[in-house]
């Protein structure tokens, strides 16, 4: 018994050390987000007493975070809706024998391989293309690029799920006179909701946090997304650590709060692509 307890205690040691490493930097930032820069420069590791909750209001109203937050919400929200609808339809189209056509399987293989494409292979020509069609420096341009880049992995995951749903369901519905279209939205899409929700969450986080495309395709301040805004704020207001920390929390809180309530879904979603094999 004593030996067992000793083993447990020894096992806990790496767990606690790693937890300190993992949570430390973020907790420190969270504490700083409630302290003023003056307080922080006096003592970098002090406690937030008194806690300046008003800083969140100041950041929101005076430092432009409301604009950046709104831009991020528009971009991530619209892109995730487009990709969910388009991706689910395509996932279903690739999953069913009924919709087979000669080049479908090579096409799917190509789609799957493009998950590996480094963004650099597209980004410079996308820049050129967006300029040509007047989409450069606009939110719709960014939204379209976002939705397209995550499409392959979304289709891949949803196809796998649709393929598992037995065909009898559709045949019954078809005999009842349903068209492919109405059957998909009334029967198949609702059945695939667990997988759809998973890709929805996965894509939302990705879009909310995306930086590379944003940095190239957005140069106007009023349409900056949060990750982009932070990059600029860190060079412009390098000294104002307190306010920056508040901004970091504003940028991270939506995803972190979602995670707090839906952590099982998150883990499922973010691991779905990797456990295959």
């Amino acid at each position: 018994m004593l030996q067992r307890r000793l083993t447990k205690a020894i096992l806990m040691l790496p767990v606690l050390v790693y937890t300190a490493f993992s949570a430390g930097p973020f907790l420190w930032t969270a504490v700083m987000s409630l302290r003023t820069t003056d307080e922080i420069y006096k003592s970098h590791y002090g406690l937030p007493i008194p806690a300046h909750w008003g800083k969140f209001y100041t950041a929101w109203t005076e430092f432009g975070y409301s604009t950046y937050f709104r831009n991020s919400a528009i971009v991530a929200g619209t892109a995730v809706i487009i990709i969910t609808v388009v991706g689910a339809m395509a996932g279903y189209g690739f999953a069913r024998k009924r919709f087979a056509f000669p080049l479908r399987e090579p096409l799917f293989l190509m789609l799957f391989l493009s998950v590996m494409f480094p963004p650099q292979i597209m980004i410079l020509s996308l820049f050129q293309i967006l300029i040509k069609y007047g989409l450069f420096n606009t939110l719709p341009g960014v939204i379209l690029v976002y939705a397209a880049t995550e499409l392959p992995i979304t289709i891949y995951l949803l196809r796998a799920f649709f393929a598992q749903i037995p065909q009898e369901m559709e045949e019954a519905a078809r005999i009842d006179g349903c068209t492919d279209w109405s059957m998909f939205w009334r029967v198949m899409f609702p059945m695939a909701l667990p997988a759809v929700a998973t890709t929805f969450i996965l894509n939302f986080i990705y879009f909310w946090n995306e930086f590379l495309y944003a940095v190239i395709f957005i140069t106007k301040q009023e349409i900056r997304t949060l990750p982009l805004a932070i990059q600029f704020l860190v060079s412009d207001q390098y000294q104002d650590i307190g306010m920056l920390a508040t901004g970091l929390m504003i940028a991270s809180l939506p995803v972190l709060l979602m995670y707090l309530f839906l952590s099982e879904w998150f883990v499922k979603g973010m691991t779905a692509g990797a456990v295959k094999g």
């Binding site: 490493f21 339809m89 395509a90 189209g93 096409l107 379209l144 909310w208 590379l212 995803v255 998150f266």
Partner: protein, 321 residues
């Protein structure tokens, strides 16, 4: 598209007449195929395949941004220059490769160790799992700023810990020293990704049938034996997958560098991705052709190495069973 409000019905009804002539094969429901796959394929070709082809095309041209993106054919000149005499490219390639090789070597054993510990039913396992997973949910700029502070010479956490355990002599301006800057950035990605790898490995461990472990226990196998001779071999496909994903991810690394060091000091953290962007938008050459050629080379290298790595790791697996 055609005016038929319900293409599906048409697809069902039409074949009846023809089927008797052509035999048993039902006609393809093209209306539905276009409806389900059309939008995705349009997106895919317009925003992925077409740009990739344009990049290949551009890599053989001089494409001056100051001259209204006019094309001038230069053949293989960019490729010769990049591979032959571009020292910045080779430096960036070495940094990216170092990152891609070192990260999995550090992340995987750490993630496996943590997964083993949680697997052996320590208390609050779920809480730890939740905490360790969190860093991955923040954007690179957020992570970058936090770690800029962690590495601050005077008051950062890194030096604070060193001073606290009596290693203050090793305190360092981690990001200002060309030797330590890249390792410092690699540690940040370890911080972000180890929890994620751990969660996946733990999920895979839970799928191992309990009988295997019990049988080993009856045979008198200790925890080390169980870990190395039963669990790790069974997890091999998952581990291989994670290593390749980690490798590819690090070969593409851009954002963290862009926020934290911009490739400096003295190109100590320049990656191929940051070099492509700098070369396209910050250099006075104002040419999109040359960076496109770099992107093409790197694209080929990523694909080649990923396939090579997959085959190498999988062959080893085949030998063992």
């Amino acid at each position: 598209m055609h005016a038929d409000p319900a293409p599906g019905t048409q697809a069902l009804a039409a074949p009846v007449a023809r089927e008797s002539i052509r035999g048993s094969r039902p006609r393809r429901p093209w209306g539905s195929i276009v409806m389900f796959l059309g939008p995705a394929l349009c997106f895919y070709f317009a925003f992925i395949i077409y740009p990739v082809l344009v990049t290949f095309f551009n890599s053989f041209h001089l494409l001056r941004q100051d001259l209204g993106l006019s094309y001038e054919f230069v053949g293989l000149q960019h490729f010769k220059e990049i591979l032959g005499s571009d020292e910045v490219f080779w430096r960036a390639a070495r940094n990216s490769l170092t990152w891609a090789v070192v990260a999995p070597i550090v992340d995987m054993p750490l993630a496996l160790t943590l997964a083993f510990v949680l697997h052996s039913k320590v208390p609050f396992a779920k809480f730890f799992r939740t905490v360790w997973f969190t860093p991955l949910l923040m954007s690179y700029p957020v992570v970058g700023v936090i770690w800029l502070w962690v590495y601050n010479y005077d008051w950062g956490m890194a030096n604070l810990v060193l001073r606290a355990i009596g290693l203050g002599a090793y305190a360092e301006a981690w990001l200002a020293n060309p030797v330590t800057a890249l390792p410092a950035l690699i540690l940040v990605t370890t911080w972000m990704f180890t929890g994620f790898h751990m969660v996946i490995l733990l999920t895979a461990m839970h799928t191992i049938p309990q009988e295997y472990l019990e049988a080993a226990w009856v045979d008198g196998a200790g925890p080390w034996h169980r870990a190395f001779h039963i669990i790790i071999p069974l997890l091999r496909p998952t581990i291989v997958n994670l290593i390749i994903l980690d490798f590819i991810g690090k070969m593409k690394q851009f954002a963290l560098v862009w926020v934290m060091t911009r490739g400096g000091p003295m190109r100590g953290t320049e990656t191929v991705a940051t070099y492509v962007i700098k070369r396209a938008f910050e250099w006075k050459t104002l040419d999109l052709g040359y960076p496109s050629a770099i992107a093409v080379i790197w694209f080929v290298i990523i694909f080649g190495l990923s396939f090579g790595l997959t085959r190498f790791l999988q062959r080893k697996e085949a030998l063992e069973f």
